[in-house]
Symmetry: C2
Subunit: 383 residues, 2 copies
Amino acid sequence: MLEEVQKGLEGVLVAESGLSSIDGDAGRLVYRGYDIETLAREASYEEVLYLLWHDELPTATDLEAFSDRIAEERELDVDVLETVRRLANADEEPMAALRTAVSALSASEPEAEADPEDLEATLRKGRRITAKIPTILAAFERYRLNEAPIEPHPDLDLAANFLYMLTGEEPDEVAAETMDQALILHADHGLNASTFTAMVIASTMADVYSSVTGGIGALSGPLHGGANQDVMEMLIEVDESDRDPLDWVKNATDEGRRIPGFGHRVYDVKDPRAKILQARCKELSEASGDAKWYDYTTTIEQYLSEDQGLVEKGIAPNVDFYSGTVYYQLGIPVDMYTPIFAMSRVGGWVGHALEYQADNRLIRPRARYVGPDEAEWVPLEER
Amino acid sequence: MLEEVQKGLEGVLVAESGLSSIDGDAGRLVYRGYDIETLAREASYEEVLYLLWHDELPTATDLEAFSDRIAEERELDVDVLETVRRLANADEEPMAALRTAVSALSASEPEAEADPEDLEATLRKGRRITAKIPTILAAFERYRLNEAPIEPHPDLDLAANFLYMLTGEEPDEVAAETMDQALILHADHGLNASTFTAMVIASTMADVYSSVTGGIGALSGPLHGGANQDVMEMLIEVDESDRDPLDWVKNATDEGRRIPGFGHRVYDVKDPRAKILQARCKELSEASGDAKWYDYTTTIEQYLSEDQGLVEKGIAPNVDFYSGTVYYQLGIPVDMYTPIFAMSRVGGWVGHALEYQADNRLIRPRARYVGPDEAEWVPLEER
């Protein structure tokens, strides 16, 4: 009982993992050895899922079979759809609705009776959840708009099909590619709080539905998944203020306002994912002929990093600083940004749950007890 | 990166806590300094909830107000009830149904918009969840039996009302007291996997609905909450075998079968909760005039502890070894035992979430990366 409390478990190694590695000084992120830049440029989200869930990249035949299965498994059971409809009508928060709907999916899982130690079955269950999350989110959005959900499009990949189910229109190539890239960038990132949640749950040999449901709950927290929405809300405020973005940010920092999207526990330099999304934001701005969002973000970044000296303090823009503007330009409602994060990160949750269960040990830490050693009971009537 | 991996976080201190303390050598468990034996004998479950969520025992006035609020908050929203009905009809596992239904509760939370840092609001939300879990479980059971759910009884306490909603009959005093005691015994137990899950989720400042939903998921795992059901299934097997229980257990151990309900990571001696439940089991057996369940458990315990020498190895009966027979004698279906554990442990989940958020730090450990450092990209068509 003499050891120190490891508050936040910062720097504590809790497992070995071959999934992803972060070099916070160099600003490098790899999935199974592949640089995130390479994956974002060369791979599809399905290919990255395969890489995270297996040990290696798929062959063309494997990838086709894998993608086909995901496409086949997109449809929702009527009970789940009804639950989503009721949640939308009750004006539930999108992340809470996703948490409930994913939890509800297990009732129609065809392999519900599988042995918890059958990790092949767990992988198939994880794949079914991953296939259905975009359908849940799009249906929720449609119900909120009093529109009927749109059936999944069997010929579109996961990213393009999501945009299609959201809007009813097949996305153009730039939009589909951008969405796919955003999903790749968010798929895994070490033992962040939601992934660790999924692992702790998996360590009881609970079902992967429980791990993913728990991961969604953790990601819903404002200290974890919500920052991209905060960034976009700030940028909309800049836009509506009709002020020059440099004036706006000077004024905001003078007032002591915290600017979201800066700093990360594991990066001291600019997040590699932020760089990729920044480039995407620029492309989308050029394609649309309206560069204002790109201008706002770069102006704010430059002012904070250089004039305010954040770069020297090791506080740099993180992935959330640029993902919001990308989603915004794809026409996605601001409160769907964190759910989209979940739609991607499910790849990591399932991957880490599987990897941990393959060499499982129940996760059960201790707390230092700071309450009274012995308290004397006083009967209710004498208190 | 040179440190050791703390697999399972065994012995790692992750927080300070004043809620409960376990002395595994002495077989002692206290909640805020009060021995579990004293609480089981003297307190009600509502009183224990108050103790865990506040710093001290309630006065009579406080307890009355607190219990009244819980009684008022038992009813379920129509959407949640419909979700429970659909889950029962789909033959969902009770723990999975509870996970989905608790997650669904947030849609009708009156303080959904409260600031995550408003811990008073979090406490009230936690109280509402705690009040509603028995109603969810009883409704689920009634729907499975094709019967209408029974409205909560405003004059009964939480334990008695649960038995009432399950059966439609007010329980007798022994049954009500036994249920109340079982809830007290399971309410908190350090940083077990489900409580730690709730804490990790809380550390993102996510809603307490997310913490409790995650806790239920972790508790559903066979390495955590399921053992009391396994014990009872074994005892039913003994009963149906028509063999002498001593013969049965000798034969089972000769065959190398693992007997559930023995051993616990934190206890080297008999779990204090097991002793209390053993006494309860005896009382219930005497009251009914049929002592077989008590005989089976004590025979098996004695054989394993002494003849097989488990007691010397520090492997003793845990709480699950006796809770099953108690619930069985109360007429509760075997697959509801783990859900009843959740109905009680929600007290600990909410208490630890609140305590951690009061001095919060995001929980984000690390994994030792064991994948390749650099992998060379091979285009799909060349693989």
